[in-house]
Point group: C2
Chain length 117, copies 2
DNA sequence: GTCCATACTGACATTTATGTGAGTACCCGG
DNA sequence: CCGGGTACTCACATAAATGTCAGTATGGAC
């Protein structure tokens, strides 16, 4: 029960998708690419995310080694999040995907999303 | 709710992630990169996916314009799926992500996945 | 003492994604 | 008439992801 299950992946893309999780982690990664941000700054940098989900995502990304969490013992509290080397490398790898999205954003927005699901 | 809701995205990466949907579409795209495959061939190329979910994913990807569905009126039935130009371009954009996953697959598999969620 | 700001935590509800297993339609060869 | 092969469809069930909202802890300013 306490054995850490060793997930296996069919290919590198499979693994990368697992790391990326849902719809937020890529955006969080993107937001942090230019340097550390405090919790509240990350929240403002990722419009639409709820506070609780942001915390969950940040914790997951800390566990997977994508980012570092630095706590300053102050009042009011201050916590800074920054990318690790691992996180930076993933961010770099996602660059082309982001560019593809930029180039095709009109087409993507025109998709009849309510008929997709 | 009859109006097709025009989703908007905060950035290109956001849009790309929306297109990629869950954990399967990237793998399906990857499987189709070398040419058309029949339904059963896609299923075998994407281990672990259930038949129903595969159908749903293929339909979504057809709707979003990533792939083309060609029906041959034969018995037994034959349906071939192939990437569109749009699908190919996305596949290309995901190339670096797949390579990143390959390079880091050991590290990713070593993540304590049961403590992540 | 009261309030402020910040970064949380916890209970709960909802939405979305995925999975299971059965059944359908078709023509053909036996 | 039966079973084989393929690509589905349908009803249902569960799991995972996301959302809402209230509450907590802290020390300093007032």
């Amino acid at each position: 029960m306490k054995e850490t299950k060793k997930r296996t992946f069919t290919c590198g893309l499979d693994a990368a998708i697992a790391i990326m999780g849902g719809k937020w982690k890529g955006l969080i990664l993107f937001a942090l690419q230019d340097g550390p941000l405090r919790f509240g700054e990350v929240r403002r940098a990722v419009p639409g995310i709820s506070e609780r989900v942001l915390i969950l995502q940040l914790r997951e990304m800390e566990t997977t080694g994508l980012l570092h969490r630095e706590v300053y013992h102050q009042v009011p509290p201050k916590v800074e999040y920054s990318l690790t080397e691992f996180g930076h490398s993933l961010n770099t790898a996602m660059g082309p995907l982001g560019e593809w999205g930029e180039e095709n954003i009109e087409r993507i927005e025109a998709v009849p999303w309510d008929k997709v699901g």
